[in-house]
């Protein structure tokens, strides 16, 4: 075995440890799974390595969100009742035993929890969770990147907390609209906060920025200049009240006191 490596055609046995930590690529994963399918010694070793790895994960201290249980059970009840899923049907695929989890791919659509009899929560709360699940995809993931990649811990904590508060709010309403010129915008509006996000926005010429506004009956207040991240923006508007709308305009760099162009999108609860 050469120390000077770069080629991947190595003995898959050497990858058992990395496999147990999910630290291999797909090709290597399949190589290991072929190995353990018919090599008992390798399978034994992998079994202990995976048991050790699992200890690393399960010893992390974290309180599961209370809503998760209801959401999971509702999703399972929905799957069971529509009859399309059956564990037995999965058995038909030829799956190497140690590879237990590789092929199954989660299909996000089916995971959206439906209101279901198993719920211990009022219907409104169920709907909240569906909403949260839908929005978190767009909203929480960029936060997670910020958290993981840049260690802006305090900023992220504030953002996360604010995001969590919006999503928990029983008054939350989802609004959705096309952005003139390209892109789509989604907002969660509550009685005192609003979370705005948009994707697919065209990039602006130099000297121009997107700016978000909270529009009440006859006034617009800036909710900040939006920093576009690959055509995506996200902003929490704290000074939002029931009946207000969110509007996004294009403004000169640095933003404006009041909107100077026609909004590209306006989102409101009604």
């Amino acid at each position: 075995m050469s120390e000077n490596d770069g080629v991947r055609a190595d003995d898959p046995r050497d990858l058992l440890g990395a496999y147990a930590l999910d630290a291999v690529d797909d090709v290597e994963r399949r190589a290991v799974e072929r190995l353990v399918a018919d090599d008992d010694e390798a399978a034994d070793e992998l079994r202990s390595l995976q048991a050790v790895a699992a200890r690393l994960g399960e010893s992390v201290r974290a309180e599961p969100p209370a809503a998760l249980r209801a959401s999971v059970l509702a999703a399972i009840a929905a799957e069971a009742s529509d009859g399309s899923r059956a564990p037995r049907h999965a058995a038909a695929t030829d799956q190497p035993p140690a590879a237990s989890s590789t092929e199954a791919r989660p299909t996000p659509d089916e995971q959206a929890p439906h209101p279901a009899p198993v719920s211990h929560r009022p219907r409104g709360a169920q709907r909240w969770w569906s909403l949260a699940a839908a929005v978190v995809v767009g909203a929480a993931v960029p936060s997670a990147i910020a958290v993981q990649q840049h260690q802006r811990a305090e900023h992220a904590t504030t953002q996360q907390q604010a995001l969590a508060d919006v999503l928990r709010d029983p008054s939350a309403v989802l609004a959705h609209g096309e952005v003139q010129g390209g892109g789509t915008a989604t907002a969660v509006l509550t009685d005192d906060d609003a979370l705005f996000s948009a994707t697919g926005l065209p990039s602006l010429s130099d000297g121009k920025v997107y700016q978000l506004w909270v529009v009440s009956k006859d006034a617009a207040a800036s909710a900040g200049v939006l920093s576009a991240d690959g055509g995506s923006v996200r902003q929490l508007a704290g000074d939002f009240a029931s009946g207000d709308a969110l509007a996004m305009t294009v403004e000169p760099a640095g933003g404006s006191e009041q909107p100077t162009t026609t909004p590209l999108v306006v989102l409101s609860a009604s």
């Binding site: 034994d44 390595l49 999971v72 564990p87």
Partner: protein, 215 residues
Amino acid sequence: MLLLLAPTGARRTSRGRGVRPYGTLARVVQASESMSDAPELLAAVAAGDQDAFARLYDQLERPVFGTCVGVLRDPDHAAEVAQEVWVEVWRTADRFDATRGSARTWVVTLAHRRAVDRVRSVQAQRDRDQRVLDESGERPFDVVADEVENMLEQVRVRDCLQTLTETQHRAVVLAYYGGKTYREVADTLGAALPTVKSRIRDGLLRLKDCLGVAA
């Protein structure tokens, strides 16, 4: 980082459905594989038994969520992946093979894999979108280690990690909690690939002895 977890969790349980009794005792019981009826529950789940699923969920909720948080750090993100994991457990329970390991390990392994998948797809997307940030995108070992090892509630696991050699320790932590492939670990550590492969394996075997893990 830790600030992010504790208050959020505490807030959540104080609202919503009410707090379920997860005390120290429950944790001790959960940690004991031999007392678990998880294998039987998984078999029942494979047959479509929703009550068995709920019992399995209650037994393994914390290991699954903890694993997701360990890799993803962000609790909301972890909850989303945990939900996917549980749906997958429901769909694929019949693939569990008791001769290949414990039910608990099977479920936790699945959770880790999905969490890592998520980290990698998010990173891939980020790399496509925003190469500019790449220079600040590295997560040095110390950051990962500090974040994660402070979250470990089992002192024993933390202590055992300390018994590894430095390279073993770094390689295991970066791969498991950092979601890195061993190739990325090798890059980060400036070590040769065969070295990293063997350090990971040796590190895990040493952890196994230290923790007294029965396969």
